[in-house]
């Protein structure tokens, strides 16, 4: 099969970008979408043209490196999978496929289809953890966790941090991403001591990074490669309100033993 690609090309953050159209070489419908781009890039390189820059790594839907907005939809046509798990059999002979980067102010462009998602790391650094020093943990079975809670925590924890939720949102909100981490830790007994401090710090950093507000349209859930539920946003909002009501934690008294 052959398709036509209309791809966003932009040399770097400071130069203007534009769509460029390419006719693909002959493709096999069992190729993954990224393998199709590999083949296109090989043919560009053989003509001494600059290959299309795109992010990718594990190619099995778990590392969250790949991105791409394909025909207007982050991670392409299918629900619950990432771009790397999308196969050419989902397209028809002669289709024109439009490929753009994830666009959001908080994700500055690096080149072509690659954007910088470090804002997510900075949010995590504000509170996406349980403070436990190596070596200080009690026996793992000394903290029983009801299976239902553990399963729900896992539903949230499987977020791959790809940023599709942000790319899909008209406000470029990162609420689904942040709520997944907040809920994962907030659902577990180990996460309780820092529960309110965590949500406050992470949400504040999210705002700081320039992500927009949530208006609950659900476009994030629709494109999430791990089908993370919107319910987690409601859960986070509740935790955030409690955190606000509690106010900032008191500073410890000066001095010590």
């Amino acid at each position: 099969m052959k398709v036509q690609l209309k791809v966003w090309r932009q040399k770097n953050r400071n130069s203007p970008g534009k769509f460029v159209t390419y006719d693909s070489p002959d493709l096999n419908p069992n190729m993954s979408f990224l393998e199709m781009l590999d083949v296109v890039n090989e043919s560009l390189a053989s003509k001494s043209e600059d290959p299309i820059a795109f992010d990718h790594d594990c190619r099995e839907g778990i590392c969250g490196t790949c991105s791409l907005v394909i025909d207007g939809k982050p991670h392409g046509p299918h629900k619950g999978v990432a771009t790397c798990q999308t196969y050419m059999r989902s397209f028809k002979e002669g289709d024109q496929i439009v490929i753009e980067p994830f666009r959001a102010r908080a994700f500055p462009l690096v080149k072509d289809l690659v954007v910088d998602r470090k804002a997510f790391d900075r949010i995590q650094q504000k509170g996406g953890f349980i403070s436990v020093r190596t070596g200080s943990a009690p026996d793992a079975n000394s903290i029983p966790v009801p299976k239902e809670n553990a399963d729900l925590a896992m539903d949230a924890a499987q977020c791959i941090g790809c940023g599709a939720c942000v790319a899909a949102c008209k406000n470029a909100s990162a609420m689904l991403f942040v709520s997944a981490k907040v809920s994962h830790l907030g659902l577990l007994p180990q996460g309780q001591p820092e529960r309110h401090r965590r949500v406050k710090a992470m949400v504040d950093q999210m705002d700081e990074e320039g992500f927009g507000a949530c208006t609950v349209t659900g476009s994030c859930e629709a494109v999430c490669p791990k089908s993370i539920s919107l319910d987690f946003i409601a859960r986070m909002n509740r935790d955030y309100l409690v955190a606000l009501a509690k106010g900032d934690p008191k500073k410890p008294a000066a001095g010590g033993a």
């Binding site: 770097n12 053989s46 600059d50 790594d57 099995e60 999978v81 798990q85 009690p138």
Partner: protein
């Protein structure tokens, strides 16, 4: 010749680690912050080490080539992590995990290291549970376990089919916490391109910023490499596309010895190759072998669909050949058995390179729902890739490159023969001998990073005066930077025709064909010839797009592929010199035949690997001798004090 001293402490095996910790030098807390440690990589080993070293008070600089440390390929491990908790009351113990690992590695690992790994395993689970890793639980709220290959106890902890992801996110959260409090300085999109060795000690690295192409020098009191394995030398593998050997290879070129490079793990249950365009292979977790039965048609050339082949005309070959372990035979054994069946012409699928992994019986016994709960994500992954429904027809699987047991040589302190250079996780030649058991990679990565290195590194640092690391203006830094710049310029200036990707494909085909699941002297000699030519051609006919001072994926690949070609040659040399079969290293000249007493007594099958303990009970540690001279093969003899080296039997 390099000096290889394993530095294994004396005394009884089960007290060595405790004694060693007690005898290790301590660093005064006020001095710790004066030592700077570079950690390269942020997978399980790197992130856990960086976080823990920072907690101890050291100044840590962490470098990753990804945009975020959460992307490291540990994230893709599916099945689980072993620990000798014996929560199942099925007879497990530290000693049993130790023994299973030594035996699984076909008696080619260091006893004391493996025992330490088994001891530390229990602490890892505690640590991860406290961090909030959402391990699978039973209704009582306690942790669940599953079985994995090479063991007859249930000691594997898991988080659905995404255990690696969850453990990595745990380590990443610890890392993030220490970044926030200033203990770790994180450098993302930063690829290490060389090691700086000053007066025989590792004291820094050269780094390229992948976004801008800028080269920077970094100095430290010690350098820790946790950069993963090198299975992408085969091009097609279950590794992420970005996984590469560059950090450890350039360290090798600066004097660090490379241990057992030919020890490669070929995983039995992967989705078969479908075409030449393919960029990677996808693993179907070993945990599937708990409920799936592996078979092939009994008759050669039987092309009927699996549903039409009656029970009596199926060969459940693992159950037939290895009764005691059956479908849970270790990976190397299961892979070779599948290859044998396909070589006999009984393979299935369009290419004939595949066997069935069949869930029909389990689905009948447990129901669709139970199977979906256990393996749902794997079944959907299989469906996405092959467009086939494994609830209705058996999966087709074939072995694929999955892990490398070889890596940089390290002593008991995880320090290489270059003082100041430490190597963790899959990047070191490790604790897995000639074959790694399932669910042991995650265990080793976290053991090295959370518990071993943070305790042993002080033995080296105590010999170094605090805050006396060389400045980046030191002459050696300038020399190394010049080397790196020249190399990059050589790639950019190349006027050739072929892309790095096309060479990578050719390299992969040579390695798989001649140094893959089965090797022999003529095949390895042939590979060495082909690789020599490939290396020459790479120098004269390479085409790299774009410029040095920009985001340039073609340039990144150029360096990585050249390193892979050179490493491929070393692997073939190592495989050639090791004139025995052991674990994943199968030399066709050395296998059991029907006339051997071990076969007659029913201990092993004809075709099983045949070790030669008299000649090869050692680690081969290869030393770089210059670009135009053959490398030197050093040996570290393996002394077994506790375990008797025996013929490995899974029958």
């Amino acid at each position: 010749m390099a000096t290889l001293n394993s530095n294994v402490p004396s005394g009884p095996l089960d007290t060595k680690w405790e004694n060693h910790k007690f005898n290790s030098k301590l660093i005064n807390p006020a001095n710790k912050r004066k030592y700077r440690i570079i950690v390269v990589g942020a997978g399980l080993a790197g992130a856990s080490a960086a976080a823990t070293l920072a907690e101890l008070g050291y100044e840590v600089q962490n470098f990753v080539f990804h945009d975020s440390p959460r992307r490291a390929h540990s994230v893709a491990a599916q099945g689980g992590i072993n620990a000798a908790k014996n929560y199942q009351n099925d007879g497990d113990s530290v000693h049993r995990l130790f023994y299973d690992t030594i035996k699984g590695g076909d008696f080619r690992s260091r006893e004391a290291n493996v025992h330490r790994l088994a001891e530390v395993s229990v602490q890892i689970i505690d640590q991860c549970a406290a961090q909030g890793v959402p391990f699978a639980r039973e209704y009582g709220g306690l942790l669940d376990n599953r079985s994995f290959g090479g063991a007859q106890v249930s000691r594997t902890f898991y988080a659905r089919g995404q255990t690696g992801q969850q453990l990595l996110l745990g380590a990443y959260s610890a890392l993030s916490r220490n970044v926030a409090n200033g203990g770790v300085k994180l450098h993302t999109h930063s690829e290490m391109l060389d090691l700086v060795v000053v007066d025989g000690q590792a004291k820094g690295i050269m780094v390229r910023n992948l976004q801008t192409g800028e080269l920077t020098r970094h100095t430290a009191d010690a350098v820790v490499l946790a950069t993963g394995g090198y299975g992408n030398v085969f091009n097609l593998s279950t590794y992420a596309r970005g996984s590469n050997t560059t950090a450890i290879w350039r360290a090798y070129r600066r004097g660090a010895c490379f241990g057992n490079p030919c020890f490669t793990q070929i995983h039995p249950t992967c989705i078969p190759v479908s075409g030449d365009y393919q960029s990677k292979l996808t693993l179907m977790s070993e945990s599937l072998r708990n409920d799936g039965r592996i078979w092939a048609p009994a008759k050669v050339g039987d092309k009927r669909p699996p549903g039409e082949i009656p029970e009596g005309e199926r060969d459940y070959f693992l159950e037939r050949m290895y009764g005691a372990f059956g479908n849970l035979a270790p990976r190397d054994v299961a892979s070779r058995a599948a290859k044998t069946v396909c070589d006999e012409g009984r393979g299935v699928g369009a290419t004939g390179l595949g066997v069935y992994l069949d869930f029909a019986e389990s689905i009948k016994r447990l129901g669709d729902e139970k199977i979906r709960e256990r393996y749902g994500n794997l079944f959907s992954m299989y469906h996405e890739i092959t467009d086939e429904d494994a609830y209705k027809a058996p999966m087709r699987i074939y072995p694929a490159v999955h892990y490398t047991m070889g890596g940089l040589w390290v002593d008991y302190n995880l320090m290489s023969n270059l003082p100041g250079l430490f190597v963790l996780g899959e990047a070191n030649f490790s604790d897995h001998g000639a074959n790694r058991l399932g669910a042991s990679a995650l265990m080793q990565g976290l053991s090295d990073g959370y518990f071993v290195l943070p305790s042993t590194i002080s033995n080296y640092l105590a010999t170094q005066a605090p805050a006396k690391r060389p400045p980046v203006s030191h002459a050696v830094f300038s020399e190394v930077e010049t080397d790196v710049r020249n190399r990059i310029q050589r790639y950019i200036d190349g006027k050739g025709k072929r892309t790095p990707g096309s060479y990578h494909k050719e390299l992969g085909k040579i390695m798989w064909e001649y140094c893959g699941m089965a090797r022999n002297r003529p095949s390895l000699e042939k590979a060495l010839g082909l690789l020599g030519n490939l290396r020459e051609e790479y120098r004269s006919n390479l085409h790299v797009s774009g410029e040095a001072a920009e985001w340039n994926q073609s340039l990144e690949s150029a360096g990585r592929v050249e390193d892979f070609i050179e490493l491929g040659e070393l692997m073939c040399r190592d495989a050639l010199e090791r004139e025995e079969s052991c674990g994943g290293h199968f030399r066709e000249e050395f296998q059991y035949t029907k006339d051997d007493p071990e076969v007659r007594s029913g201990l092993v099958n004809p075709g099983d690997v045949k070790r030669d303990d008299a000649r090869f009970a050692h680690v081969a540690a290869w030393e770089f001798a210059g670009p135009d001279r053959p490398p030197v093969r050093n040996q570290e003899e393996l002394k077994y004090e506790e375990v008797k080296m025996s013929t490995r039997s899974y029958k």
